[in-house]
Amino acid sequence: MAGIGSSLEFSGSLTSSSLPPPRTRIFKIIVIGDSGVGKTCLTYRFCAGKFPEKTEATIGVDFRERLVDIDGEKIKIQLWDTAGQERFRKSMVQHYYRNVHAIVFVYDVTNAASFRSLPAWIEECQQHALGSEVPRILVGNKCDLRDSLQVSTDTAQQFADSHSMPLFETSAKSPGGPEEGTHRDSDHVEAIFMTVAHKLKSQKPLILSQPPAESRGPTVNLSRARDEGGRGWSCSSC
């Protein structure tokens, strides 16, 4: 009964032989939202580059990561894929809210209830002292299922605006839209997490995984994010 979290998963950079050299910066991003919205699929898509054939319920917290290159700097993006069921969130996931650099809220565009849960999730994050200074984004997943849409872009956008978050709509299944292949270049999921990474890189006070990195990258122009559907963070704020 091994879930996607164990045997099937791969994560490109975790074997000891390919451990990044010290001073690789690490961005920790926690992914939260109701059960079934596709958190595991999204994180898997980003770290493994494909839609998982099957996922199983996430129990507790799963962890995926990927090394990316941002303006010549290798950065490790750590995704914390959390359990959606409420009982886990209340007492188990807490531990993992600490020290995260960004939060990704996920709802399912074909499931209005998952959208209605968002305030509770946001509240939860605030309780764990993750205030508005921690970058947060909102992701509406499963956009490939157009016929069963329950949450309109407008509604979601309004909500995102009221919480000062950028909204992204995408599909872990076919992130480049139905016509396109799943090449990373045309991949919204890729763009979403990279946007967050860029945002984090451009933030001044950075929490480093290892003691001082003397170089700090220049502010990054986030030209891509907007094209890819991100709204809410104006470029100037990056």
């Binding site: 009964m1 091994a2 045997s7 129990i59």
Partner: protein, 370 residues
């Protein structure tokens, strides 16, 4: 001991009157476990004090209607369907148990336990086993919150501390916590093992053991990987990642033996004292003794079959009653009634009935009784 000899011993134990439960437990724990599914179908019910001739009826159609956990169960079962085709039965037995016991709350991972039982023993027997397990071994996981589960997880680090202080301190420094072992504990490893035969082997072990045994096995696994752990970066993410992925080729027989050894050396009561684990009521732990007592006086299947064929008048009336969740089988009384009707009036049944009632009053009452 050879396989043949073990088989003979198991059969002999099954035919004793009362059933030789100690021998069955030893067989389930010792090398190779219960060997085949055929034997599991005979022994698992005995380990849980279940009369296979008086099983609950198949869940009715109405079981799937409006239960608070219905959607979550559906979602979890559907996602595990590719591997396990019996989705409908799985949903039914889960919801049936939940409906019978409103105090039990579904958790993601419960379906992994249910499916393991279902695949080995079939629907009706799986229902009986799941019902019993949910009220005893898994009981703590089924509270409205996971606080009791957290408490059980808290036994892990003290075990490590006893055996390997260095490893323990390393993990404390990394602040890894114990969530990496959460799915191991609440699914009895069913969620994380890709080879079903290993899952079954572990179920043999756990069905014959104390409810905390999955934690002792977790400790044995972590200790087994001690070198890997210590050479990992001392960081929560790295250690969590390393530990939460169970290598596929673990030497399970060895680890089971080690877990048993750890349990014998550092029983829960000792750990609780040493580690000053905050005293929290664990239903699984506090009812275990009564549960074990209740298994001591079971009749062999040959006798049970005879008794069930020529049942006492009262029990034949019961058999004619239509299945109604709110009537005789419902509302948490099923287990008691099964014990009382299914067994002849032995001490076991009496003890068990007491245990059930007492559980509703709270474990203190229970402890006073034994």
């Amino acid at each position: 001991m050879g396989k043949k000899q073990k088989l003979a011993e198991i059969h002999q134990a099954l035919n004793c009157d009362p059933v030789d439960i100690e021998t069955l437990r030893r067989a389930a724990v010792s090398k190779g476990g219960l060997l085949t599914d055929e034997i599991r179908r005979k022994v698992w019910p005995k380990l849980l004090n279940i009369n296979v001739f008086d099983l609950p009826p198949k869940p009715g159609k109405d079981v799937r209607e409006n239960h608070r956990d219905h959607n979550q169960v559906l979602l979890d079962v559907r996602r595990s369907m590719k591997r396990f085709p019996k989705g409908k039965q799985l949903i039914d037995i889960i919801l049936d148990v939940l409906k019978c016991h409103p105090q039990l709350h579904y958790y993601q991972g419960y379906h992994d336990v249910a499916v393991t039982l279902l695949l080995v023993v079939g629907e009706r027997m799986a229902l009986a086993l799941l019902d019993k397990l949910s009220n005893f071994h898994l009981r703590d996981f089924m509270d409205p919150t996971m606080d009791s589960t957290k408490h059980i997880l808290n036994y892990l680090m003290p075990i490590l501390e006893q055996v390997d202080t260095e490893l323990h301190d390393f993990m404390i420094r990394a602040e890894v916590g114990t969530i990496f072992a959460l799915s191991w504990l609440i699914t009895w490893y069913g969620h994380v093992l890709s080879e079903f035969k290993y899952t079954l082997r572990l179920y043999d072990f756990f069905l014959a053991s104390h409810p905390l045994m999955p934690i002792y096995l977790a400790a044995a696994i972590v200790l087994h990987r001690e070198k890997e752990v210590k050479t990992t970066e001392c960081d929560m993410a790295m250690v969590h990642h390393l530990l939460s992925r169970i290598p596929q080729d673990l030497p399970y027989e060895l680890l089971i033996a080690q877990a048993q050894e750890l349990f014998d050396h550092y029983p829960p009561s000792v750990l609780a004292k040493k580690a000053a684990l905050q005293s929290r009521k664990s239903l699984s732990i506090s009812t275990f003794q009564a549960f074990q007592l209740s298994t001591l006086h079971q009749r062999p299947d040959s006798v049970l079959q005879r008794l069930t064929k020529n049942p006492a008048p009262s029990s034949s009336n019961m058999a004619l009653l239509p299945r109604e969740p709110s009537s005789l089988w419902g509302q948490g009384n099923r287990v008691v009634k099964m014990a009382v009707w299914g067994l002849s009036a032995t001490l076991g049944a009496a003890v068990f009935a007491v245990a059930q009632t007492a559980m509703e009053w709270g474990p203190e009452v229970l402890l006073q009784l034994f």
